[in-house]
Amino acid sequence: MREKAIVFEVNERQHCTTIPSHRTLLEVLRALGYVDVKCGCEKGDCGACAVLVDGEAIDSCLTLAWTVEGRAITTVAGLGNSNNPHPLQAAFARNGAIQCGFCTPGVIIASESLLRKTPNPSDDEIRFALSGNLCRCTGYTKIFEAVREMVLTRSGGVLR
C-alpha cells in the first residue's frame, strides 16, 4: 500500500497527514474528526459529502485525498458556528429548510459555492446548483426558499 504525507488546510487549520493512495477525502476528513462532512453513498450520488475546495463545491467521496495537497478545504462547520452562523446557515434555520439535517451540510456547501460564483443567481440557477444534492425529507421547497431569501437579502430585494 503506497502512503505519503500530504499537507492541506481544513477550516483554516493546517494538517499534515500520512494517507494511503486510495483513501478518499471524505474518509480522511471524517477520520480527522470533521464529521460534519456526511457520508451518504460514497458514490457521488447524493451530495451529502460536499465540501469547498478553494471555494468550489466538490463531492469529497469522489476525490482522492492526495489530490487536495496544498489546497484549502472548507466544511460546513468552517462556514460558521452557533455563536456566529454564516448567513446561509441562519437562513436555513430560519426557513425550516432542515428536517433530519443529514443532507444539510452538503446542501449548504453547494449553495455557498453557487453564491460565491454567482452572487445573484436566477431561480433556475439555484435549482441546477442544488440538483446534485438529494434530500429525502423536505421536498426541497424550504431549501429553495432559504437560498432565495439569501439572494434577496444580498441583492437588496431584487430578484433576477
Binding site: M1, P20, E27, G33, V35, D36, V37, K38, C39, G40, C41, E42, K43, D45, C46, A48, T75, V76, A77, L79, G80, N81, S82, P85, Q89, A90, F92, A93, R94, N95, G96, I98, Q99, C100, G101, F102, C103, T104, P105, I108, D123, R127, F128, L130, S131, G132, N133, L134, C135, R136, C137, T138, G139, Y140, T141, K142, I143, F144, E145
Partner: protein
C-alpha cells in the same frame, strides 16, 4: 369547533431547537459517534440469494488480529427485529447470524479490527463454502408446488411452527355478507393493481457503536426509531438484564420506517463488542443498506359493487404481499391494508383475503404510509373510475361515500377502531379544487399534441398512532411515557425517549409542555436522554409522535402544573383554583398570579428557588399514556401533470395539498411534512422501484442510488405552484386538539398521479411506478382512445 381562547406558542412558527446544530454541522448521528479505542466492525454478506453455509473458516482473519463472529458465536435465539406487535402476533424467524443465507446481502459473518484497512482485509480473508440452494425471487416461484422452503419453521407463540408453501401468514377479515351485498349491487367493477417495492432512501445508512464495560454492561448508540425496543431486544438475545443495557438517543438522518425494527447490524456489533471486550463501531455502506430493507411489494385485486346512485354496497379485496426473506410484520401489514381500505369509504359488506409470501429478496418493512399508500392507490383510482362511469365529479361523488364525522373507522387493522370526532375533508377538498383549477380540468383522452396536461385528485388519511379503547387483546403495543421536571430557576426539563426523525416532533411536544405549564418556549429544554433515564416509549411511527407521545408529555406537564399551583397557593396564601400561570416574555419566565390581586404574584423561578432553599423538594412528574383513539389525519392531493408523449416523462406542474392535522402546532414545520410527502410520493408514483436480477437475486442498481432514484430539486414543482392548506379542525382527543400529520402526507400520492395521468392521456395505469417506459408502451399499443375504456369492461349484474 372548540379551541382554547388564547395560545402562546402553539400555532406559531418557532425556530427548532436542533436547527442551529444541524446547519452548523454539530448535530451528532450514530455514524458520528467516536469512542476512544473503538475497533472497526465490518460484515461479510452472502453473494447468493439462498445458500447453506457448509463451512466457514475465520482462522486467516484472526491471524491478522481481527476478532470474528459467525453463527457459532452468537446466542441461538430466534427473534423478530420489530417488537411493536403484541407477542401473540410476533413471528420470529431470524438470528443475529444464521447458518443459512436467505437473500443476497444477508450477513454471514462479521469482524472487528483496530483499523478500517485491517477490518477490510480480514473480511476478505474469511473463507466460506456455500451450498447453493434454489432461490425463489418472486411470489409466483415461492408459491409453486414443491418449491423449496425458505424457512422450515419459525417461532410462533412459543412453538417452532412449520411454514408451508413459503406462506408466512394469511388473514381473512369479513364484515357483513358480501354475497348479499353484491347481489344488491346495480354494477360491479373489478380491477387489478400492483405497487412495486421501493427503497426507503433515508439519507443516513445504519450505524451502531457498542461500548462494553467491565461489569458486563453495554452502552449502545444506534440508528433507531425506538431506543427502548432496541434495548429490550438486545436483552432478549444476549440474556442481559435491562439495566445493563443503555441505549442512547441520538439524531437520526431520516428513516421513513426503515429503523422501526432494530437494525440487523446492531446485535452483530454488540456480539463483536462482547467477544472482543472492546468498543466496536459499524457504519454500513449505501449498498449494504439497500440490501437491508425496502417497502413491501403488493398486488391487489379489488371488486366493488355499487348502486345506480353510487352507494357502495360490497367490496372484496385480495392481496398478495412479498415479504422478502424475513417476516418483519406481515400479519400487521395485511391488517392495515384492510383497515385503510375500508376506512376510506363506507362499505357495509366486505371481505378481505391477504397472503404474505416469503421470497429470497431483501426483507421488507414499513415505509412511510405503511399500507395506506397502496390501499389508497387501489381505492382512489377505482373510485375515480366509478365516478366517471356514473358521470359524476369525483370530488362530489367521494364526499357522498367517505367515512367522516361520526363514522367508525379502523385505522391500523381490525382491532384499532374509533369514531371520527374531527373531519376536515370537505373543507380541504373545496380549497384544493379551487387552487388547482379542478373545474377547468381536461376531458380524458381529448388531447392531441406532444405535451398533455391532466389534473388528478386523491384523498387519504393516516391514523394518529394505533390506540384503541381496549388495552388488552390489541395487535399492537401503543403507549408513551414522559418526564417533566421544574428546575430550580423556573425552567423545565422535558425528558422523553421518543425519537424525532426530523419533522420536529420533540420541538412540537416542547411547545405543548410550554403551553400547558405557562412558560416561554425558551424555558423548556429537550433533554439528551437514554434508556436508563427515561420511561418507555413504543416507537415514533404511525404518525403518533405528537398525538400519543405529546399526550403523554402533556399529562406529565399537567401534573407538574397542579403541583406548582398547590405550592404557590400555600406561599401566596390563596386557593390554587384562583391562580393562573402565564409566560412573561419580558421576564423570560412563567409568572403565577391571581387576576385582580396584583400582590398575589410570583415567578416560577422564585417558586422553584424557594422550594429548593427551603428543602421542600423538586417538582417533577413521570407519566405513561395509552391513547384510546387513533383519529384520522386526513390528507388531500390535487396534482397537475404534464405528460411528454414523446419521452413518456411526467412533470409535476402544480400541486394543492391539504392536511387535517387538527390544531397545527408549528405551521412551518407542518408544511414541510407535506412537501416532503409529495416529493417521496411522486418518486414512488413515477420512478422508484427496487429491482432484483431474476437470475442472481442481486440488486439491479448494484448499490447505486441512480436507478429508481430519489427525486431531486429539478423534479420538484416550482414554489409558486405549490399550495398547502390546513383544515380548521380541533381533535377533542388530541393534545390541544392536535392529531398526526407526517406519515399521512405521502398517502394519496400514487392515486393522485395515476388519476392525473389518466386525465391527461385517457389511459388508466394500475401499476406503480408509472415509468416513462410504461407510458410509452401504453401510448403505442392503445393509441389515444376517446371512448371510456372502463365502460365496456363493466359487468352489470
Amino acid at each position: 369547533m372548540q379551541t382554547r381562547t388564547k395560545l402562546n406558542t402553539i400555532g406559531r412558527n418557532t425556530h427548532r431547537k436542533d436547527g442551529i446544530g444541524k446547519v452548523t454541522g454539530t448535530e451528532q448521528y450514530a455514524s458520528d459517534v467516536s469512542v476512544p479505542r473503538a475497533w472497526y466492525g465490518g460484515v461479510l454478506r452472502s453473494p447468493h440469494a439462498h445458500a447453506r453455509i457448509a463451512s466457514i473458516d475465520t482462522s486467516a482473519a484472526e491471524a491478522l488480529g481481527a476478532v470474528c463472529l459467525t453463527f457459532a458465536d452468537v446466542p441461538r435465539v430466534k427473534y423478530n427485529e420489530r417488537t411493536n406487535c403484541a407477542p401473540p402476533h410476533l413471528y420470529r424467524d431470524r438470528y443475529v447470524l444464521d447458518d443459512t443465507a436467505r437473500h443476497v446481502g444477508e450477513a454471514v459473518a462479521a469482524v472487528a479490527a483496530p483499523t478500517r484497512a485491517l477490518a477490510e482485509k480480514a473480511l476478505r480473508a474469511i473463507k466460506v463454502e456455500y451450498e447453493v440452494l434454489p432461490a425463489m425471487l418472486c411470489a409466483a416461484d415461492a408459491l409453486k408446488d414443491g418449491a423449496p422452503k425458505i424457512h422450515e419453521t419459525i417461532l410462533y407463540r412459543g412453538k417452532e411452527t412449520p411454514i408451508e408453501h413459503n406462506v408466512a401468514v394469511t388473514r381473512l377479515i369479513e364484515v357483513g355478507d358480501i354475497e348479499k351485498g353484491f347481489a344488491e349491487a346495480d354494477s360491479i367493477i373489478e380491477r387489478e393493481f400492483e405497487a412495486a417495492p421501493v427503497y426507503h432512501a433515508q439519507m443516513e445508512t445504519k450505524s451502531v457503536v457498542c461500548k462494553p464495560a467491565v461489569d458486563g454492561s453495554i452502552t449502545v448508540w444506534a440508528t433507531t426509531q425506538s431506543i427502548h425496543n432496541t434495548r429490550q431486544l438486545l436483552a432478549e438475545i444476549y440474556g442481559l438484564p435491562l439495566h445493563k443495557i443503555n441505549v442512547k438517543k441520538i439524531a437520526i438522518g431520516g428513516t421513513f420506517g426503515s429503523s422501526i425494527q432494530m437494525n440487523s447490524v446492531v446485535p452483530i456489533c454488540v456480539g463483536l463488542a462482547i467477544k472482543s471486550g472492546r468498543p466496536v463501531k459499524i457504519a454500513t455502506t449505501r449498498e449494504e443498506d439497500m440490501y437491508d430493507h425496502c417497502r413491501y411489494q403488493v398486488r391487489i385485486t379489488l371488486k366493488l359493487g355499487f348502486k345506480a346512485d353510487g352507494t357502495l354496497v360490497a367490496g372484496h379485496m385480495k392481496t398478495t404481499v412479498e415479504l422478502g426473506a424475513h417476516n418483519t410484520q406481515g400479519y400487521h401489514f395485511l391488517g392495515v391494508i384492510a383497515g385503510f381500505w375500508v376506512s376510506l369509504y363506507k362499505l357495509p359488506n366486505m371481505k378481505y383475503e391477504g397472503t404474505a409470501v416469503y421470497t429470497n429478496r431483501t426483507p421488507s418493512c414499513a415505509m412511510q404510509g405503511f399500507g395506506a399508500p397502496q390501499a389508497t392507490f387501489v381505492t382512489e383510482v377505482i373510485m375515480d373510475e366509478i365516478a366517471e362511469l356514473l358521470g359524476r365529479d369525483p370530488v362530489e361523488y367521494k364526499l357522498t361515500q367517505y367515512r367522516g364525522l361520526g363514522d367508525t373507522f379502523w385505522g391500523q387493522g381490525p382491532t384499532v377502531k374509533s369514531i371520527i370526532l374531527s373531519d376536515g375533508v370537505p373543507e380541504l377538498l373545496e380549497v384544493g379544487a379551487k387552487k388547482i383549477g379542478w373545474d377547468g380540468r381536461p376531458v380524458p383522452g381529448t388531447q392531441t399534441g406532444r405535451f398533455r396536461r391532466g389534473i388528478g385528485m386523491a384523498r387519504s388519511f393516516h391514523c394518529s398512532g394505533v390506540g384503541q379503547p381496549r388495552k388488552t387483546g390489541a395487535e399492537m403495543i401503543d403507549y408513551s411515557g414522559a418526564i417533566v421536571k421544574l428546575n430550580e430557576d423556573g425552567s423545565i426539563d422535558y425528558i422523553q425517549s421518543l425519537m424525532d426523525h426530523g419533522g420536529g416532533t420533540c420541538e412540537a411536544i416542547a411547545k405543548l409542555v410550554a403551553e400547558e405549564i405557562g412558560v416561554p418556549l425558551s424555558m423548556v429544554g429537550i433533554s439528551d436522554v437514554d434508556t436508563n433515564t427515561t420511561v418507555y416509549d413504543i416507537t415514533t411511527h404511525a404518525t403518533r409522535g405528537v398525538f400519543a407521545g405529546g399526550a403523554a408529555a402533556l399529562k406529565a406537564a399537567k401534573s407538574v402544573k397542579a403541583k406548582i399551583l398547590d405550592y404557590a397557593s400555600q406561599l401566596l396564601d390563596i386557593m390554587s383554583e384562583s391562580l393562573v400561570i402565564e409566560p412573561s416574555e419580558e421576564l423570560g419566565q412563567g409568572v403565577i398570579y391571581c387576576p385582580g390581586y396584583p400582590e398575589k404574584r410570583m415567578t416560577l423561578g422564585e417558586l422553584a428557588k424557594y422550594l429548593h432553599v427551603n428543602s421542600w423538594g423538586t417538582i417533577a412528574a413521570v407519566e405513561s399514556l395509552h391513547p384510546v383513539t387513533a383519529p384520522p389525519a386526513y390528507v388531500t392531493y390535487f396534482v397537475e401533470v404534464e405528460v411528454d408523449t414523446e419521452t413518456g416523462v411526467v412533470k409535476t406542474l402544480a400541486a394543492a395539498l391539504g392536511s387535517d392535522c387538527g390544531t397545527v402546532v408549528n405551521p412551518g414545520l407542518a408544511a414541510g411534512q407535506l412537501t416532503g410527502g409529495l416529493s417521496k410520493g411522486a418518486g414512488c408514483a413515477l420512478i422508484e422501484a427496487h429491482q432484483w436480477d431474476r437470475q442472481t437475486g442481486e440488486l439491479a442498481s448494484k448499490g447505486f442510488w441512480v436507478d429508481g432514484k430519489t427525486l431531486s430539486i429539478l423534479e420538484t414543482p416550482l414554489l409558486e405552484n405549490l399550495h398547502i392548506d390546513f383544515a380548521h379542525t380541533y381533535e377533542p382527543t388530541g393534545p390541544f386538539g392536535a392529531k398526526g400529520i407526517g406519515e399521512a402526507s405521502i398517502n394519496p400520492a400514487l392515486a393522485a398521479y395515476s388519476n392525473a395521468i389518466y386525465n391527461a392521456l385517457g389511459i388508466r395505469f394500475r401499476e406503480v411506478p408509472i415509468t416513462a417506459e410504461k407510458i410509452l408502451a401504453a401510448l403505442s399499443t392503445k393509441k389515444v382512445r376517446r371512448t371510456q375504456p372502463a365502460q365496456r369492461e363493466l359487468v352489470n349484474s
